[in-house]
Symmetry: C2
């Protein structure tokens, strides 16, 4: 794969030109470390997020109502429109890392699985892409036709969601140290 | 990989000797089709499941209270002990398929992604293993210290969970047809 470093340069220079807000800040130190390695560069990333959505759940029928890459408070659950069905979802970190070759991919997988057991190879043909994926998630129906479906204390739910978010970040920090 | 067919025979003969209850029945026709192909054999499978669990969520601290590979009814949510925190989880199909070589794996990925976009390669070194993974999931807190945390109609929640289970099965049937 002689063009790997050229592809890396081209890809990362495009990334720099894109709007700053496109990458959530929490994941930037990790991206910098990975991109400093000759055999790897990141092609997409999300450090984890909490969001409210409505719709059928299919890709084109999913309306994002609110999203946070930070800890939330009770206000996060306040919506002007709670008609239909509104879901609360929490997603863990996801990273796509382009690797120089299959050997580099296997090394990255071995290192990554110490922290992220579900890491895998997305593509091994044209480009070699490894996906790093945490396994925290929440998916619960929150409002139906204007009615809140959760009968516990909202403060407790906020704490629950935030505790999972903190776990995601702690694991990301541990993962970052694997590259040191 | 000259030993592939031998490994396949050995693995599948062990499987036949194991208890029948070990594999949920819904997925058996699909396994048979995949195992009839020279370049593939399945090493583990779950057609999707609904379960109640308590504990911290870590692998060794997760107590399964009830599990169903079938549609559920309201009785599924009845528990003798609802102390602590009890979660409701729905997981989609997951299959691990050992492939003869990387080329077979890439072909399988291409076919599988028509239905399961998140399919990936788990291992590309010693054995080549493809993971097929659906993306339906539910993860919601259901009881806390004896109190039900869901304030909607239980009948509706049962329908919601079952509708996701049916989607999982429909997609599995579509996937099966890809091999025809």
């Amino acid at each position: 794969m002689p063009n790997f470093l050229n592809n890396k340069k081209t890809f990362l220079s495009k990334l720099d030109k894109s709007k700053k807000g496109d990458i959530d800040e929490k994941v930037i130190p990790l991206l910098k470390i990975i991109n400093s390695k000759d055999n790897y560069y990141t092609t997409s990333s999300c450090s984890g997020r909490i969001y409210l959505w409505s719709g059928s759940g299919k890709k084109n029928e999913c309306h994002w109502l609110k999203v946070s890459h930070e800890l939330i408070d009770e206000k996060f659950f306040e919506l002007k429109d709670t008609s239909g069905l509104v879901w609360l979802r929490l997603e863990d970190i996801i990273l796509h890392i382009c690797c120089k070759d299959l050997d580099s991919a296997n090394k990255l997988l071995e290192l990554s699985r110490r922290i992220y057991k579900k890491s895998c190879i997305l593509s091994a043909s044209n480009k070699v892409i490894v996906e790093i994926h945490g396994s925290e998630f929440i998916e619960m129906s929150l409002y139906k036709d204007g009615k809140l479906l959760f009968s516990g204390e909202i403060e407790w739910l906020v704490g629950l969601v935030n505790s999972r978010m903190k776990k995601i970040w702690e694991r990301m920090e541990k993962y970052q140290k694997q590259f040191a």
